[in-house]
């Protein structure tokens, strides 16, 4: 750590993640785009332009923007009161509630889709609303997913918000509403805008929910890419849409990056939460409603999984050891669900260590102090580069991997490592976002002090960094594990027939007619949700604030 220039060290640390990202991310995405823009080996964007001017494309685009905007607005509207209630009020059990709220966010998208269909379907508890298969259902599911993002991101900012400006305003005669409008909201605006843009991003690239809830009638750009590739084999169209999405999302991501709340206030104030007053009732009611809204789909899912043609029972769970019922007595699946669960867990383990290895390197690279303008520029560039997977749709990634890795040198399609690699890339930004703030928060003078007292570089890491970082590392690993368990977009392209993951199996089961298959899908969803929830609750116990706050 005594080098004059950090550049050589920087390059050494960055080379592995950059290479991995280049091969498994940039190359596939570029290949996917090339397929659309260079259809016959020559540059010919007319096909792509054609796709973009199709009437259906316009509809898809409009639907994407409209549902994403509605989902974002809904998440913010419901998330803000909950953020305040759970982060500023001394409510008993609020930690548990905060942890439970994170569960929907990592629930496998397919599971959420199934849960909402179960809830809103004709025979569901809310079937009378007639919302099944409508855009409202899609938006509701998007809000269900993302309200936790708002609660965590804004809640964390709210919790570390110095209470004194608000008190000063109140002492100057501002009513609680005026305090909120003139002091608190301006202070929270960066966090709100940043959470809003991330939620918009998640909504716009949502795949599993829209596919299960929107069907063929309502498609977003993401599901349209999937349909064009897998059902219609219209690669040009898919590439054109991917390109469009890439441009829009990259722009949005850059905007979010700029707006992200900079931790300018180095000192972390954690405001003392105050006791509940009668005047808090409206916000408590909103919070209760949101919690109920989050719990209902999950409860319906569990109830549905226990319902069998002959009353309540565990038959659907018992059936998980089978391959379901298909036409002519053959199974709906190539392997039993239990085997898929083993595959899922094994894949998640692989994806987790890959994401952690890459994520740790990236986090160290982007947070070390730069010693010159060139170095700072390189670091900033790398930071943005590693965030790319957050913005590029998993479908594009999966499809890109599928089409580029088939030629000669890099034929990894048959490799059992391909799915974990793709999932690791999807989880990478979340890992980096969890670790980077923690590493950046370590005062470099601590390292300098250790060094000046005679500690070598490794010793310094062990003494200064490790005690601060081990919990966030565990938390990030758990988070990556959960994300990998639920990953569907990229996996749906890359899985091998003989080794599908649970989300893939669930999607296949709900696509096959037969009461037994649907019950099995519900049971499998419950199992997957349960495993994911356990992982997330364990992560939450570590109390790492940067988890899930982007």
């Amino acid at each position: 750590m005594t080098r004059r220039s950090g550049l050589p060290g920087l390059v050494a640390l960055a080379v592995v993640p950059v290479a991995v990202l280049a091969v498994f991310f940039v190359l596939p995405v570029a290949g996917m785009l090339a397929r659309g823009l260079w259809p016959d080996g020559t540059f010919d964007p007319s096909g792509a332009v054609d796709v973009l001017t199709r009437e259906r494309t316009g509809r898809v685009l409009w639907f994407t923007v409209a549902t994403s905007a509605a989902g974002t607005a809904g998440s913010l509207l419901l998330g803000l009161p909950v953020a305040w209630t759970l982060h500023r009020l001394a409510l008993p059990g609020r930690r548990v509630v905060r942890a439970l709220l994170l569960v929907p966010f990592v629930l496998p998208t397919v599971v959420v889709g199934v849960a909402f269909r179960e809830l809103l379907g004709e025979s569901g508890p809310l079937g009378f609303l007639g919302l099944d298969g409508t855009p409202v259902a899609v938006v509701a599911a998007l809000v269900f997913f993302n309200v936790a993002v708002v609660v965590r991101a804004v809640g964390a900012a709210w919790e570390s918000l110095d209470p004194r400006p608000a008190e000063a305003a109140a002492a100057l005669g501002a009513t609680p509403w005026q305090v909120w409008w003139t002091v608190t909201l301006p202070a929270l605006r960066p966090a709100i805008v940043s959470a809003g843009s991330v939620v918009f991003l998640f909504c716009a690239t949502a795949f599993g929910v829209v596919l299960t809830l929107g069907g063929l009638r309502y498609a977003t750009v993401e599901t349209e890419i999937y349909l064009l590739t897998t059902n219609l084999l219209d690669l040009e169209g898919a590439a054109a849409l991917s390109l469009l999405q890439l441009v829009v999302v990259a722009g949005l991501l850059a905007l979010a990056q700029r707006l992200r709340a900079t931790p300018a206030a180095a000192r972390r104030v954690v405001a003392r939460s105050r006791a509940v007053r009668p005047s808090d009732a409206p916000l408590l009611v909103v919070t209760a409603v949101v919690l109920l809204g989050v719990a209902t789909p999950v409860a319906t899912l569990v109830a549905g999984s226990l319902r069998t043609p002959d009353g309540w029972g565990l038959r659907n769970y018992a059936a998980l050891a089978s391959t379901g019922s298909g036409p002519g007595g053959s199974g709906a699946l190539a392997v039993p669900v239990t085997e898929a669960l083993v595959v899922s867990l094994r894949t998640a383990v692989d994806a987790t260590w890959m994401a952690m290895l890459l994520g740790l390197l990236v986090a160290v690279v982007v947070t070390r102090r730069s010693r010159g303008r060139a170095e700072r520029a390189v670091r900033a560039g790398l930071d943005g580069f590693f965030m790319l997977p957050l913005g590029v749709s998993a479908v594009t990634l999966g499809f890109g991997l599928l089409v580029t890795l088939d030629d000669g040198l890099l034929d990894l399609r048959a490799s059992p490592l391909l799915v974990p690699v793709a999932q690791a890339l999807v989880a990478l930004p979340l890992v980096v976002r969890t670790l980077a703030p923690v590493l950046a928060g370590i005062d470099p003078r601590q390292r300098q002090a250790a060094a000046s007292l005679g500690a070598g570089p490794w010793r310094t890491v062990a003494v200064v960094d490790l005690p601060v970082v081990w919990k966030p590392v565990l938390a990030a690993a758990g988070f990556a594990f959960a994300v990998s368990l639920g990953e569907f977009g990229a996996t749906s392209f890359l899985f091998r027939e003989e080794a599908p993951t649970v989300p893939v199996v669930i999607f296949r089961l709900i696509g096959r007619p037969g009461e037994g298959n649907y019950g099995m899908a519900l049971a499998a969803s419950v199992v997957l949700a349960g495993v994911t929830a356990l992982v997330v609750l364990a992560v939450e116990r570590l109390r790492v604030r940067s988890v899930g706050a982007f």
Partner: protein, 336 residues
């Protein structure tokens, strides 16, 4: 104007303020003086309505405001570090309470100009708080607090965040501004000099209780016990025979203990006490020395007017010392 009776505040069951009763007449400034953690800021927050007292009442102008929310009390609170709103300009910060009350724009602008002049910041209206020095920020915070002529101004260590020289200058300004505006104010501080410079009355707090209160001169001239005396800037406390000797030399009636300021003993050729110099040092204003005084032990002393800095007595030299009766305070009891 402000009347506290039996106010107690507890945080999570731990008492921070215990049974405090105080009165502040209209137009006067009360300084609540105490070490950090003594509960003085909590008391201020309770007066402001930011903490709910466990028991006791807060009465302002004859109206019980104990259960009135902060924003309806008509007070203003100024924090140690100003707490200016960083996203608003200086003028907008000062205008904030006026705009809350929807005063006409012209009236607001005129009042802001008047206030900026009062605190000596004419022409600063368009600056952002981040570009101001600490002292300037405190002036803006003061102007903002005074904007709507609050019936009570609460000041939480208003000068503590500033460096020494600035603090002294600003304390004088603060006194002038408060008197000119005729504001009733409660000032919380751990700095006795700040309290002397700004306040009319003083309340000394320790472990959540008020141990002494009254006009500044009264409290200063007769600390209730040794700890209070030391907190008020007295250098040493003597008791028993040594107290009697000093008081006799000063020509004052006897007491069980006496607190001496640093300058209570002065080198004087015809002084009543004899001693030998232990150490001596010249400061820009006077010569300071420690002397071993016969029958009294080691005490602080200063050089008299005749003792120029060039003639600092050497250790071991014999000196005669006189006691300045105005610079000592007889104590009713030695221990608190």
């Amino acid at each position: 104007m402000l009347s506290l009776s039996g106010v107690s505040v507890a945080y999570d069951g731990v008492d921070a303020v215990v049974d405090v009763s105080l009165d502040v007449p209209a137009g006067e400034v009360l300084a609540v003086l105490g070490a950090s953690g003594c509960g003085k800021s909590t008391l201020l927050r309770a007066v402001a309505g930011l903490e709910a007292p466990r028991s006791g009442t807060v009465v302002a102008d004859g109206e019980d405001v104990t259960r009135v929310p902060t924003h309806r009390r008509g007070f203003a609170l100024m924090f140690q570090d100003g707490q200016l709103f960083g996203h608003l300009t200086v003028a907008r910060n000062v205008a904030y309470p006026l705009r809350l009350r929807r005063r006409p724009a012209a009236e607001t602008a005129a009042r802001v100009a008047e206030l900026l002049e009062l605190v000596g910041l004419v022409g600063y209206g368009d600056r952002l708080p981040g570009t101001l020095s600490g002292g300037e920020q405190q002036r803006v915070a003061l102007a903002r607090a005074l904007a709507v002529r609050p019936r009570l101004l609460l000041l939480d260590e208003p000068l503590s965040a500033l460096d020494a020289g600035l603090r002294e200058r600003l304390a004088g300004d603060l006194r002038r501004i408060l008197v000119e505006a005729g504001t009733t104010a409660v000032l919380v501080t751990h700095d006795h000099e700040e309290a002397f410079a700004v306040a009319d009355r003083m309340a000394l707090m320790r472990a959540g209780r008020v141990v002494q209160h009254g006009p500044v001169a009264d409290v200063w001239g007769a600390p209730v016990d040794a700890e209070a005396a030391l907190f008020l800037g007295y250098a040493r406390v003597l008791d028993g025979a040594r107290a009697a000797a000093v008081l006799a030399a000063a020509g004052r009636p006897g007491a069980s203990a006496v607190a001496l300021r640093r300058s209570a003993l002065r080198v004087e050729p015809a002084g009543a006490l004899a001693g030998t110099v232990v150490s001596a040092a010249a400061t820009p204003d006077q010569v300071r020395l420690v002397a071993d005084v016969e029958g009294l032990g080691r005490l602080d002393a200063v050089g008299g007017p005749g003792l120029a800095a060039a003639r600092v007595p050497a250790p071991g030299a014999a000196v005669r010392l006189d006691v300045d009766p105005a610079r000592l305070a007889p104590l009713r009891r030695a221990r608190g």
